[in-house]
């Protein structure tokens, strides 16, 4: 019997523990809900207060202006009265003088008086002294329109409407001839009292609401790559919304699903890939887009045309930039938000992948240039190398010799290079924090910057005088560049 009592008691203990756990859960939920309500309330009241404050400001300004205009007109009146007073005084004095004059000259005076009388008459008739105030002393007080504030106050106590539930895709075997199993989910923030389910039959011969999407179009000039990865960007190709995209690598059959119109895919070095994209919506996937060939030899990038200074023009293939001889007048130059405005420069679209990158720049004997890297937000009205957001090698041509600077923050080491490089190798190593320059034809090291890049950088190029330079990329970095 003791055993049975013990069991009963144990059962009760378990029940109570359960109950306690339950209570705790409820307690937490209540706290959560309270917290949410509190936040909600605070937000709401803040909005109301802000609106009221705004109204106050507006009214106050209005009253101030009214006061000002009333004072102005009263002052004007005062001035006019003062003038009238002065004129009247003068007339009185003149009259008094005439009155004090001797009788011998009376007949002349009578004549004068006659004239004066006319004069007085005219003057007084003219001066219809207006002794009424030009403005009322009352201020207009229009009724404040606080109806929207009232609405806001009313809505505080109202529970916000829930968000639309999301219907889950239909599960296989969840329907019979006469019934359907519909599942949906809701957002946990919502308070829901009940659901309303609506349905209508879809006629068989009407075209399904969901048609297949059109294939996207890969934006060739916005794709870049390096030995470990490629960045592919494309245009949706659809006016109707698309759920997601599928990026396919034909070589390996790998497939990656992404929600936006770009994708950074990991690849293997030294290979060639054919990459295409499909758009996917409820109806299914589209046809494949035209494929793009990506080669993971070296680092490959295009130049960012929308950063180019207006004086720069680009070759058709997009890898040579020219600074023409003709002087463009300032007004003819179309500066956009993103273009360089002083330094005749352009940025390159380097793939945002840390690691090692290498590219080459071809110049001639005379071209004065700056080549290097810069942060994406480098000052567009600055000169490459003159600020802390760019590093570059600069070539200056004087009549007698070549001068070289390796600029960052406006400072350069003092060095001489005896053979002018016409093919410059640029080697960027994010992990080691180095940016090195080489005479690629001679395999000669010129200079290395040591800097911890806290962000991704872009190749930058500028021409300080009319000339041209060509960017070569997709080149495997020579061994000596990353010793």
């Amino acid at each position: 019997e003791i055993a049975s009592i013990r069991n009963q008691l144990q059962g009760k203990v378990a029940e109570m523990e359960n109950f306690a756990g339950h209570l705790e859960e409820i307690f937490l939920t209540v706290e959560e809900n309270f917290g949410r309500q509190e936040q909600h309330l605070e937000q709401h009241y803040n909005d109301v207060l802000q609106t009221l404050s705004q109204r106050y400001d507006d009214r106050e300004t209005g009253l101030q202006e009214e006061k000002k205009s009333k004072l102005e007109s009263l002052y004007k009146q005062l001035v006019a009265c003062g003038q009238a007073l002065d004129t009247s005084k003068e007339l009185i004095e003149t009259a008094q003088e005439v009155y004090r004059c001797q009788d011998e000259r009376l007949f002349l005076k009578v004549a004068q008086l006659g004239l004066l009388r006319d004069f007085f008459f005219l003057e007084f008739a003219k001066e219809d002294i207006d002794l009424s105030l030009s403005t009322s002393l009352e201020f207009s007080t229009p009724l404040a329109d606080l109806s929207d504030v009232k609405t806001m106050m009313d809505s505080i106590n109202v529970v916000p409407a829930p968000s639309a539930p999301v219907i889950n895709p239909q599960l296989p075997n969840s329907a019979t001839q006469t019934s359907l199993h519909v599942c949906w989910s809701l957002f946990s923030d919502d308070t829901v009292e009940y659901y309303e389910l609506y349905y209508r039959p879809v006629l068989e011969d009407t075209p399904a609401d969901s048609t297949l999407p059109s294939p996207p179009a890969i934006k060739q000039r916005e794709c870049s790559s390096c030995p470990e990865a490629a960045l592919i960007r494309w245009e949706s190709g659809n006016t109707n919304p698309v759920d997601s995209y599928i990026v396919e690598l034909s070589e390996t059959g790998t497939v990656v699903a992404v929600p936006t119109c770009q994708c950074l895919i990991q690849l293997q070095a030294g290979r060639q890939y054919l990459i295409s994209v499909r758009a996917v919506n409820i109806g299914g996937p589209s046809d494949r887009s035209d494929a793009i060939t990506i080669s993971t030899t070296g680092t490959f990038f295009y130049l960012l045309e929308d950063t180019a200074h207006p004086c720069l023009s680009m070759s058709e293939d997009g890898f040579t930039i020219f600074y023409g001889d003709e002087e463009l007048p300032i007004t003819a130059m179309a500066f956009e938000d993103n273009t360089f405005t002083r330094c005749v420069a352009i940025l390159g679209d380097l793939i945002p992948v840390r690691g090692r990158h290498y590219w080459e720049v071809e110049v001639d004997d005379e071209t004065e240039f700056r080549v290097g890297v810069a942060y994406e937000d480098t000052e567009r009205d600055g000169y490459l190398g003159a600020n802390g957001s760019s590093w570059c090698m600069r070539h200056i041509r004087t009549p007698s010799r070549h001068k070289y600077e390796f600029l960052h923050n406006g400072w350069s080491p003092d060095l001489r290079i005896t053979v002018h490089p016409v093919r410059i190798g640029v080697a960027l190593d994010y992990d080691r924090g180095t940016l090195s320059f080489f005479n690629a034809n001679l395999e000669q090291h010129l200079h290395t910057f040591h800097c911890r890049f806290h962000n991704y950088v872009h190749p930058c190029f500028s021409l300080d005088n009319p000339g041209a330079l060509t960017v070569h990329n997709g080149i495997q970095a020579p061994d000596y560049t990353f010793i």
Binding site: R416, I417, T418, L442, E443, H445, H447
Partner: protein, 282 residues
């Protein structure tokens, strides 16, 4: 040729040793320092010859320049000979610090009383490499040369006079144009006599003007606050001018605040060893 080990210290994972031998060129006992990197225990390594400057012995470079870590990292043997024959008892050899003992100028003297012993050019370019290759784990086809001040002059002339022999060359504050500076004029007069044409065979600027051979890639570091630079003993501008005209690739770096001392060498030795490694390990 018998080598006697004078000292051995473990350093940067390898060994810094000093040896002594009887030199046939210099006709006296000579010491040299040699750094053996860890890699030398298992593989044949390339050799960098370091020539020191006025008043130095084989000790200065190995105790002050801090070269061993970089040498170990890149697997390079560094050999640092003395700067002149020692104990030859030649009259006047100890009179000046810039001529005679400790001031061999890496030439083969033609004048008495120097011509018997003062043959540092042949010692460095012929006898020493043979000795090193015979006694250590070296790759005889891969050698390079570097030096400081008078040793910089030595490195430059050895490379220019032996096209293809050295895979890389670099220098710290070298005497670039000795026939035009007081040091060079004094030394060459004593060792080579009054005939200036004999001097030109040991002048880097003159040699560069007529150099023909495999392409060089010369790295030169020069302290901007070097007292000897301002005293016109070093004259790098002359060498740069000739190399620009003859298209000999040089990168010349003027380092602000640095002087002529081993503190300067210490500061940039890593860059130089890396420069040599690029060619020695290619």
């Amino acid at each position: 040729m018998a080598l006697t080990q004078v000292s051995s210290n473990k350093c940067a994972g390898g060994f810094q040793k000093v040896f002594e031998h009887d030199s046939t060129e210099l006709k006296c006992k000579m010491k040299f320092a040699i750094y053996l990197p860890p890699k030398a225990e298992t593989d044949k390594c390339p050799v960098l010859y370091w020539l020191s400057g006025l008043t130095c012995t084989e000790q200065n470079f190995i105790t002050k320049a801090g070269s061993q870590l970089a040498a170990a990292e890149h697997g390079i043997i560094i050999v640092a000979p003395d700067t002149s024959p020692r104990g030859c008892n030649i009259e006047g050899e100890d009179e000046s610090w810039d001529f005679g003992t400790g001031a061999g100028f890496y030439v083969n003297a033609t004048q008495d009383p120097w011509k018997t012993n003062y043959r540092m050019y042949s010692y460095v370019t012929e006898e020493l490499p043979k000795l090193i290759n015979a006694n250590f784990s070296t790759d005889p086809d891969r050698m390079s040369i570097s030096g400081h001040s008078m040793g910089g002059h030595g490195a430059l002339i050895c490379a220019l006079k032996n096209p293809g022999k050295y895979k890389a060359v670099s220098a710290f504050a070298p005497i670039c144009n000795p026939v035009q500076c007081p040091w060079g004029q004094k030394a060459f007069t004593g060792y080579l006599g009054a005939d200036r044409s004999a001097w030109e065979a040991y002048d880097a600027t003159v040699l560069a003007a007529s150099y023909s051979g495999p392409q060089l890639d010369i790295l030169i570091d020069q302290g901007r606050d070097d007292q000897f630079l301002s005293a016109s003993q070093l004259l790098p501008d002359n060498l740069i001018a000739v190399c620009s005209e003859k298209k000999i690739p040089v990168v010349f770096r003027l380092q602000p605040g640095y002087d002529h001392s081993y503190f300067f060498i210490y500061s940039f030795i890593n860059d130089h060893i890396k420069h040599h490694a690029k060619y020695l390990n290619a």
